[in-house]
């Protein structure tokens, strides 16, 4: 039962990720990406990491993808972009990289079937508490660095947005 669920979800993840690459409409591609993220969340949940699954949905599918769709909506590309995308997806462009990465895929499959990979059965349950303890003990440096990076990004974004605003009241003064 759980193996069937896993393979089904994994198949959905792979198929939807392929559709992300192949669909010509940017919003459709993003929708497939959301499906892919959701199926990865299901796999996380199934293998004993419910907290990671919930965060995957809330942060990636719920927040980051919303912002991406927001930006694409602002651009409001329409049919012209689809035509342009069609021109970009010529076989000449993707044949080389696709061949090289299919060799990598073959290697991966051979490795998996030769039994060198870890088995997934031995995984144990990781609840919210374990994630929190790991984040604030073993990974505390990474957490602090990430928070500094985010703060710098926030301050930078604030600065960029503020300059525009400071300029606009001067226009009526000039008149």
């Amino acid at each position: 039962m759980s193996a069937a669920v896993f393979y089904l979800t994994a198949a959905i993840a792979i198929a939807s990720t392929a559709m992300v690459i192949f669909s010509r409409n940017a919003v459709h591609a993003l929708l497939y990406l959301i499906v892919s993220l959701l199926s990865v969340a299901v796999i996380f949940y199934q293998y004993g990491a419910p907290f990671a699954a919930a965060l995957e949905v809330i942060v990636y599918a719920g927040a980051i993808m919303v912002l991406m769709i927001f930006v694409i909506m602002m651009l409001n590309q329409g049919d012209a972009a689809v035509v342009q995308e069609k021109e970009w997806l010529q076989p000449r462009g993707w044949l080389g990289p696709a061949l090289l990465s299919s060799v990598l895929l073959l290697q991966l499959i051979v490795l998996l079937f030769s039994g060198q990979g870890e088995t997934t059965e031995a995984l144990h349950y990781v609840g919210p508490k374990e994630v929190g303890i790991a984040l604030f003990s073993h990974y505390i440096l990474a957490v602090e660095l990430a928070s500094m990076l985010l703060l710098a990004g926030l301050v930078g974004a604030f600065h960029l947005a503020r300059q525009k605003r400071a300029e606009s009241p001067e226009v009526p003064h000039a008149d």
């Binding site: 919003v27 929708l31 907290f51 949905v57 809330i58 599918a61 927040a63 927001f70 909506m73 919210p128």
Partner: protein, 318 residues
């Protein structure tokens, strides 16, 4: 998990059907209550107290032409209204209605509901995008910005409750309130969550994504028939879901003397739904920039301070 299959099935269908029926009934209830508060009768002609107005509206919606504009992005246009219904109904599965009623007992129940409410945003955004209409697009843009910002402290405001109860499991949170409802120690959390809940379900006064005085009908301008009906019922579902969640987290869920647990749960949830309607009747819309400023400059610091204070007190007590 040990319950027989028929009880599980009864729970699933009971909770979901009750949620949809209540949402449909709320379309009538809200208009009656609004009428009462605004000193006018409201829909009172069809059936006793106008109760059959719901049926009349439903028949009307079913027989309307289900129009899909030819300039729309058709698959996305059809997908959009189903998202809000599906995510809101999924949200109900973790709500513990009483000690024995409740579909599933997830140990990340609270996060699950937050995840579902963040997925529900897509309904409005995609509806606005796929309609390929200026007003709908503006409504969708507003919805995206509004929900993403209010989601931030919607989650943060609940973390105080999680800290007090020591669990994300909604059932355990209710049981932890035996000694006292969390609305008292977490009043700021309750306040922030209630306002964020209104913004998340984009109800008046925060219904700027569909503000009819400036955007005709916002994101659902192009929708008609049952597709519009699904947006509509989805909105009422989210009102009930937010009310049920506030009941569970801050008002002690099914806990209460004398009456059976289900009745207590229904009473508290009903009261909160009425509060939602009263707010709609009483408070005018803010301007869009005021809404965003209020969110980031008042609500976010408030919920962060609440989080800090709760953590500090908990550490101090031991």
């Amino acid at each position: 998990m040990t319950a027989p299959a028929w009880i599980t099935l009864l729970n699933i269908f009971g909770v979901l059907i009750a949620a949809v029926l209540l949402a449909a009934l709320l379309t009538w209830g809200e208009r009656r209550l609004l009428g009462f508060w605004q000193d006018r009768p409201g829909p009172n002609r069809v059936g006793p107290f106008g109760l059959l107005q719901v049926v009349a509206d439903m028949i009307k919606l079913f027989f309307k032409e289900d129009f899909v504009p030819r300039f729309a992005d058709i698959p996305v246009f059809i997908l959009a209204p189903t998202v809000v219904m599906a995510t809101m109904l999924l949200g109900f599965v973790v709500i513990p209605v009483s000690p024995t009623i409740g579909v599933i007992d997830l140990n990340i129940g609270l996060l699950f509901i937050l995840a579902m409410s963040s997925m529900a945003v897509y309904s409005v955004i995609l509806g606005g995008y796929a309609s390929n209409n200026k007003y709908a697009l503006l409504g969708g843009l507003r919805a995206a910005a509004q929900t993403v910002s209010y989601e931030v402290f919607m989650g943060l405001s609940l973390m105080g409750v999680v800290m007090l109860a020591g669990s994300f499991n909604l059932r355990e949170i209710v049981q932890a309130q035996e000694s006292g409802w969390y609305i008292l120690p977490q009043f700021i959390g309750f306040f922030v969550f209630f306002i964020a809940g209104i913004a998340e379900s984009h109800r008046l006064p925060f219904d700027l994504p569909e503000a009819e005085h400036e955007l005709t009908a916002g994101f659902h301008t192009e929708y008609s028939g049952m597709k519009f009906g699904m947006f509509f019922v989805g909105e009422y579902l989210s009102v009930i879901l937010i009310s049920a969640l506030i009941t569970t987290l801050f008002l002690g869920g099914w806990l209460g003397p004398w009456l059976p647990p289900v009745v207590w749960f229904a009473l508290k949830t009903g009261l909160l739904v009425m509060l939602f309607v009263l707010l709609r009747a009483a408070i005018p819309r803010p301007r869009y920039d005021q809404l965003m400023q209020f969110g980031w400059k008042v609500m976010l610091p408030l919920s962060l301070l609440n989080l800090l204070a709760t953590a500090g007190v908990l550490l101090w007590i031991g």
